[in-house]
């Protein structure tokens, strides 16, 4: 199994989730994150002075999927989360060893 972690623009979350559902991926865990990257954050104006907000709000999606569909998942995310502007985010993938469903104790493929 693979862990696919995607860091995406906040307003893309719903679209990505729907796209994943449509390829049969129904489980995922999302956390709020702050991103630093090439996009140097935005500026806000506070009483006449512009200043830098260093971080940009992002959502981080954690998805554990079977090896067989990993590529499809990655492609789906890449396509849906893409706006073509700097700051669209990244996807990181690594192997995981075990997955367990707490409710039933089922393991690995069965647990997803």
């Amino acid at each position: 199994m693979k862990m696919v972690t995607a860091i995406i623009q906040t307003h893309k979350l719903d679209e990505v989730r729907e796209a994943l559902n449509s390829i049969g991926v129904n489980g995922m865990t999302v956390t709020e994150a702050k991103g630093y990257g090439r996009t140097k954050g935005h500026t806000e104006i506070y009483r006449g002075a512009e200043y830098q907000i260093n971080y940009i709000p992002k959502f981080k999606i954690d998805l554990v999927v079977d090896d067989s569909i990993a590529d499809n998942v990655i492609e789906t995310i890449t396509k849906t989360a893409n706006t073509g502007k700097i700051g669209d985010g990244k996807i990181f993938v690594w192997d995981i060893e075990t997955a367990i469903r707490i409710r039933t104790g089922e393991k690995d493929q069965q647990a997803l």
Partner: protein
Amino acid sequence: MFDSGDTAWILTSTALVLLMTMPGLALFYAGLVRSRNILSVLMHCSAICCVSSVLWFALGYSLAFTEGGAYIGSLSNIFLLDMARDAATGTIPESVFFSFQMTFAVITPALIVGAYVERIKFGAVLLFSSLWLLLVYVPVCHWVWGGGWLADMGVMDFAGGIVVHVTAGISALVIAIVLGNRSKFPDQISPPHAPWMVMVGAAMLWIGWFGFNAGSALSAGSDAGMAMLVTHLSAATASLVWLTIEWIRFGKPSLIGLVTGTIAGLATVTPASGFIGPIGGLICGLVGGGVCYYCVDLIKVRFNIDDSLDVFAVHGVGGATGTLLIAFLALESMSGVGLEEGVSSISQLKTQIIGIGSVLVWSIAVTLAIIYITRRLVGLRVESEDELEGLDYKAHGETGYNL
């Protein structure tokens, strides 16, 4: 014996002016700091409210409002020992006048909080504010409103342009300079953590200000009515001025900008509110909004002084501006109440300048002395690590948001 309508209005005004500090100003300031300092700001305002109330009762009121000399009143009414239950001030009970004035003594030192947030010791807040109330506010209050030398000279200050805003504004600037900038000022400063809270505080200040200015008429009649009207117009106009400047300059008018304009308009109209007519209110808003906007830039960007929440630029400058405008806007031709018999705009302007100038000098000198004492006795600034981690937990053992 008393006029019940006048009394009803000043009782109400007292509640309104207390609302300005608790929780109006407290929220206005708390929303502007980082989330890890929100409680410390609320604590500053609350504690100052309590300490000032007790000191006003113990000493301040007597020194400010009993007859004494040109420079200070007497001790004859400390702890209100000299006040009968049914003593009168004009058409209202003296107890009501005392309480109304007390709410002014509460908010004035609390205004200064904006200059030293996020880095001051809590003990220093209490000591500084106490001394400042007794040594800056009380004497100036006596000079202008207690029958002192500035009153004799004919200085006009209806609801506290000099007494409240100039004293607090200039002292804020002094303590901001002495204390030094916050560690990340100006480059890396965090944005206001809760602009919505700033707006709520501003709205309460606006409403409370009706009590501040229209209550200063000490009666419920056309003076109060006109004071409320011009107060509102100035607030609304200055808000729009600020909004327009930001829109033109940055393309995006901000909520914090708009409400900062509101406060600028309110501070500006304060000294003039009892003397001017509707058009005067509009002019106070136009001038006050513009001048204060410019001064925020000047102090923070040009002079690089971390008067963190712009107490001087908004309150000090606004209050002074309004004080000067009186000389023109109080004219009967402007639907004002008119100047004293035989006084021209120019001569009134001179009087006003003397008023502002002398209070400026006194405030700076005494504030410096108080800072010196405070630094010796309890120290001024927290450790830089505490500043980084936030005063809420470090000074008060609490955290603002546990969601």
